[in-house]
């Protein structure tokens, strides 16, 4: 049924439909609305789950590691500093191969204090072994969260569903919310391959010396590599039931494009509008939406961008001393190709600054009129410092 709901609540509804067993979280803006609604659902019986209140995000993740080890479906949500505090246990959850699902509402890191959107918090966790899926609207946030449980429980890796603060999390819009029985058909109960079991006691995750550790890491990477195919299969099922699919990447009018805008998160949605306007003017422009960041969709990226002359990558994030993180990864994915587009890395919208249609158009025209990128990263919309007296 279609309802007008807040982006955060679209995620909550998906967790309800997934019949999560254990939810643990620590409040932080802009994530709080997600678990706020879930805690109401837990208290009024709408959702039969254990809601664990904890004293920090680190503890929230620790609690879920315990719960997931016991073989139940688990969920948490966080943002920014909270995710940073979880860092140590993010590695643990992935290494222990626990299918935990987390909603990560992108928020800039302090200082200065900033509650607005930026992707640096989630991208800084790229090497933890978590699958990362970026969403552009509330419908996708709901669908991806529901899919995330099945993906996680198939490949035994934790999944981070990532959404922009406010532009997505606090925006009300129509969302098609599946019925519970439909959701049940898509997502069967979790049957763990391994779990804590008093009838069959065993020790988990003890010492792994050099003679076995590397194989375990490889096993994790194999799971990551399988995740794109698994996601594809899951989306087949999802599409059959609900008529929607997204893809690890989505190429919009890329086939004949000279310049392809590469985006993630809500910037993708606004870019669709810009794309339409530019196409109407006869510009040969395409749009590539990066939904999966981990695992990185190398093949799809190469396939859809091979014919383009230039990529304009819009990063609402930054790796200090390097550049926009998507641009960095895209460059490295393309560098061994014989024929490859020039990669223009744009940094825009940090700390919640609006990425408007004007900003995206400006990026397009800069790319079109530049023979080569003017630097590793091109910062858009910086206020000019006052001239020295």
């Amino acid at each position: 049924m279609k309802k007008v709901v807040e982006g955060s609540h679209a995620v909550s509804e998906a967790v309800r439909l997934a019949r999560a067993d254990v939810i643990s979280a620590y409040p932080i803006t802009p994530q709080t609305h997600i678990v706020e609604l879930l805690s109401e659902y837990c208290s009024d019986g709408t959702l039969n789950a254990k809601f664990l209140r904890v004293e920090s995000e680190h503890s929230a993740m620790a609690a879920l590691i315990g719960a997931a080890s016991a073989g139940v479906r688990t969920f948490t949500a966080t943002s920014s500093q909270g995710l940073a505090l979880m860092h140590e246990l993010l590695h643990w959850a992935a290494g222990a191969r626990l299918p935990i699902v987390m909603a990560e509402v992108n928020r800039a890191l302090a200082p200065g204090w900033n509650i607005w959107t930026e992707q640096t918090d989630s991208l800084a966790q790229r090497d933890t072994g978590w699958i990362q899926l970026y969403c552009e609207d509330a419908q996708e946030a709901l669908d991806t969260t529901l899919q995330a449980f099945r993906l996680a429980e198939t490949v035994y890796l934790p999944v981070m569903v990532v959404l922009d603060a406010f532009f997505l999390s606090h925006t009300y819009e129509p969302v098609d919310i599946p019925e519970q029985e439909e959701a049940d058909r898509f997502l069967p109960p979790f049957k763990p391959a391994f779990q804590l079991d008093t009838q069959n006691p065993s020790a988990f995750n003890q010492l792994a010396p050099p003679n076995v550790y590397m194989e375990m890491r490889r096993s994790l990477q194999d799971a990551m590599e399988s995740a794109l195919d698994v996601l594809d299969t899951i989306e087949d099922d999802y599409e059959k039931l609900f008529g929607r699919r997204y893809g690890a990447v989505e190429a919009v009018q890329c086939d004949d494009a000279d310049i392809i805008l590469v985006t993630s998160g809500t910037v993708t949605s606004t870019s669709r509008l810009v794309l339409r306007q530019l196409r109407e003017k006869g510009e040969k422009v395409g749009l590539l939406k990066m939904k999966a960041f981990r695992p990185f969709p190398f093949e799809a990226l190469r396939k859809h961008t091979a014919h383009a002359k230039k990529l304009a990558v819009i990063d609402r994030n930054f790796s200090f001393g390097a550049g926009g993180i998507f641009a960095q990864e895209i460059r490295s994915a393309l560098c061994n190709l014989a024929r490859r587009p020039l990669v223009f890395g744009y940094v825009a919208g940090l700390g919640g600054r609006d990425v408007t249609t004007d900003v995206i158009e400006d990026i397009y025209w800069r790319t079109k009129t530049s023979a080569h990128p003017e630097g590793e990263s091109i910062w858009i919309g910086l206020h000019q410092p006052a001239p020295a007296a």
């Binding site: 279609k2 007008v4 509650i115 607005w116 552009e136 609207d137 922009d164 603060a165 406010f166 532009f167 997505l168 606090h170 925006t171 009300y172 819009e173 129509p174 809500t266 910037v267 949605s269 606004t270 669709r272 509008l273 919640g352 609006d354 990425v355 408007t356 249609t357």
Partner: protein, 192 residues
Amino acid sequence: MIEVRFHGRGGQGTVVASILMAKAFFQAGYYVQSFPLFGVERRGAPVEAYLRLDKTKILVRTNVYTPDHVVVLDPTLLEGVDITRGLKPGGWILINAPEAPPNLHTYADYKLAHVDATRIAIRHRLGTRTHPIVNTAMMGAFARVLGEPPLEAVMEAIREEVPAKPEANMAAAREAYESVVLLGPVAEAVSA
């Protein structure tokens, strides 16, 4: 696409008005977006909320800079807050006030409507006498101003979404719908 900006004060239900209008328009077949001014909320401080309507899916996910219409839930905001900021010429300004504001020439480029939502809210015992909750009354008035959504859609949104006193809120919306004064284009009103 139509963009609307709501002005109010923290605690008056401004954001809720925007959300409920979104739901009402959604009921009337629109695609909608509603969101508050992103930031910290403080009771009594000026707040803004936004509403986008379109017949097709709304792709733009940015702030609202050039609204088509403006709704002002608290007349004291007319001084101190530039409620016409970015407002497109010819757009409606709906003000919660018993009568038109004195400095009409300020709004010469726009169309003006006013409704005594405070009195209506108090009569229907919404909120307290000192802090009446005027948002549902303003919704009814706004539906009349735009000619959309149908009053029934507004009623339905209130019935479904307002947890406390839904009947009184619906009655307030209806009364405001019926009593809102549509001055129309201010330039004409001033010259007349």
